[in-house]
């Protein structure tokens, strides 16, 4: 009954571990990929008002023009990056839908897509659902989990149709500065390749200003599909609002699929998102807290001997358990059972990351401190 294409997509290898966590009460979870903040009140209040006013209809397929305008204005203000809200911007149901649309809009069966590892779990699966072929570009702790330019160059000989970039990155938290992005673009520009740039953590960037890939130059902009959304920076995961900006031909193709499959994003969420764009102060406060926690957890983990590349953004760190000669899954299982602390085994983000764990520091300082103490106790018994 199930299509061969879908059957071929492997289920998540650590489902069993997730079930173990879900079944265990009173766990301190450092495994959550979403903010621990509740959506700022002014945003929630706007959604409530919209409901009271009876704003419960569809919107245009592309989404509310006021939201698209708000987004393009902010991009221009923050990054001097200009997109036309009329035909170069699409409101999606989270960045997840944006990624799905981008891949579906450009990938023919057999087309190759470069996925940088460690990767966000959805990328390879979405490419495979479209009958595309994933080619992996591995990064290493020794390179600070950044793209190795030589390796990138060599993969281009396989004529990939697209590359998926994600920075600040889930799961490593690393990001790229303008110089590094230019180096990547110089290599990519030699080929006709689409850059799908998932920049969903752009608001959570702690050391240097974020640089969107499409802001590098005009040619890069034409070749890039910029994906972003409100889930992470604005603590609005459940609202499911994302957006895609890009060349109007690509946006139009993505809108076509979106109009048949999703029709439009939920109006209440879109109205809330318009308000979110004005909540700069609240966003800044959350960002500051994440930064403090990042400093705290990286110091603690390195002290405990879990070597950790300092993340510059998002709310994750990708720490090595190599020193303890134990697999990531075993480490995570034992830590959960012995000390009730949940982390995600690195294999979820690429099978070669069998000695890494992903830690989310989207958690209160008290919990982070307690988790660090429990991990210290756990390590002393290993």
């Amino acid at each position: 009954m199930i299509s061969k294409r879908i059957k071929k997509v492997p289920p998540s290898g650590i489902r069993e571990f997730f079930d173990l966590v879900l079944g265990m009460p009173e766990v301190i979870s450092l495994g959550v990929g979403e903010p621990d903040f509740i959506t700022p009140w002014r945003i929630r209040e706007k959604a409530i008002t919209a409901l009271e006013e009876g704003l419960t209809s569809y919107t245009s397929n592309q989404g509310l023009l006021s939201l698209r305008k708000g987004i393009t204005n902010l991009l221009e203000k923050k990054y001097s990056l200009k997109y036309n809200p009329e035909d170069e911007t699409l409101i999606t149901v989270g960045v997840s839908e944006g990624m799905d649309l981008a891949i579906r809009a450009i990938i023919e069966p057999g087309d190759k897509v470069i996925v940088v590892t460690p990767y966000y779990v959805a990328y390879p699966a979405l490419v495979e659902i479209c009958c595309g072929k994933v080619i992996y570009l591995p990064t290493k702790e020794g390179d600070g989990f950044k793209i190795n330019l030589g390796k990138l160059k060599s993969l281009l000989s396989q004529n990939p149709k697209a590359i998926i970039l994600n920075y600040p990155c889930n799961p490593t938290g690393i990001t790229y500065n303008r110089k590094e992005l230019n180096q990547i673009w110089n290599i990519l520009s030699k080929k006709d390749i689409v850059v799908i740039s998932d920049e969903t953590y752009d608001e959570l960037n702690y050391d240097k200003a974020h640089v969107p890939f499409s802001s590098l130059n005009r040619k890069a902009k034409k070749k890039t599909i910029l994906l972003n959304g409100f889930s992470k920076g604005y603590a609005m995961t459940g609202f499911r609002v994302g957006f895609a900006c890009g060349d109007k031909e690509i946006i139009s193709a993505m809108t076509k699929i979106h109009s048949y499959s999703m029709l439009c994003g939920p109006i209440i969420s879109q109205i809330a998102a318009v308000e979110a764009l004005r909540a700069r102060k609240e966003i800044g406060q959350m960002q500051k807290e994440y930064k403090d926690r990042r400093n705290f957890i990286v110091k603690e983990f390195n002290r405990l001997g879990l070597s950790t590349v300092k993340p510059q953004g998002a709310f994750y760190c990708f720490s090595s358990v190599k020193k303890y000669k134990i697999s990531a899954l075993d480490f995570a299982k034992k830590l959960l059972l012995q000390e009730k602390v949940a982390v995600v085994p690195g294999t979820a983000f690429g099978e070669e990351f069998n000695s890494y764990i992903r830690i989310s520091y989207a958690n209160s300082l008290e919990n982070l401190r307690e988790a660090a103490a429990r991990i210290e106790r756990f390590l002393s018994k290993l």
Partner: protein
């Protein structure tokens, strides 16, 4: 506001070690910064917010609006000083609007507050009138919500 101040405003009991880890500053620097703030009177006091509704020593709190006659040359300040020196007065603010001072007054029970008003405050020659409001319930204090807290409904694990 400075990062150290922001953290302390939220948690005055935070250890120097944690402050160090959070800000990336050295222990010495943090001690120097804090001393400096204390000296300048930016940091006035390290206090604890207690939800009295949950203790057995409840007492009563009243907000009292006071209309006063300003005095020549010194305006409201001298009258205010006369009033805020009463130990019963926990806070004292000068306001614009229909009355001049707003006092927060604490007492063991309604009678204590009532006698403070009738015997100490109202008889002052510069006080023209008072209106006392007894506090019934505190929902939020100093930015902290005292009633049932919102809980994040996150799943314990997600990508």
């Amino acid at each position: 506001m400075d990062e150290v101040l922001e953290i302390l405003e939220n948690n005055a009991r935070i250890s120097l070690e944690d402050l160090q880890k959070l800000t990336g500053k050295s222990k010495k620097d943090i001690e120097r910064i804090m001393k400096n703030y204390e000296k300048k009177g930016v940091i006035v006091k390290y206090k604890t917010i207690i939800n009295k509704q949950k203790t057995d020593n409840k007492g009563v709190v009243a907000l009292i609006e006071v209309k006063i006659v300003p005095q020549k040359d010194v305006g409201f300040d001298l009258v205010a000083q006369r009033i805020y020196r009463f130990p019963e007065v926990k806070s004292c603010y000068l306001l614009s609007g229909t009355y001049d001072l707003l006092l927060e007054v604490c007492g063991e029970d309604i009678n204590t507050v009532a006698s403070f008003v009738s015997e100490k405050l109202a008889p002052l020659s510069s006080v023209r009138g008072t209106a006392t409001h007894f506090m019934l319930k505190k929902y939020k204090e100093d930015g902290v919500i005292l009633v049932k807290e919102e809980k994040n409904q996150r799943l314990p694990i997600a990508y």
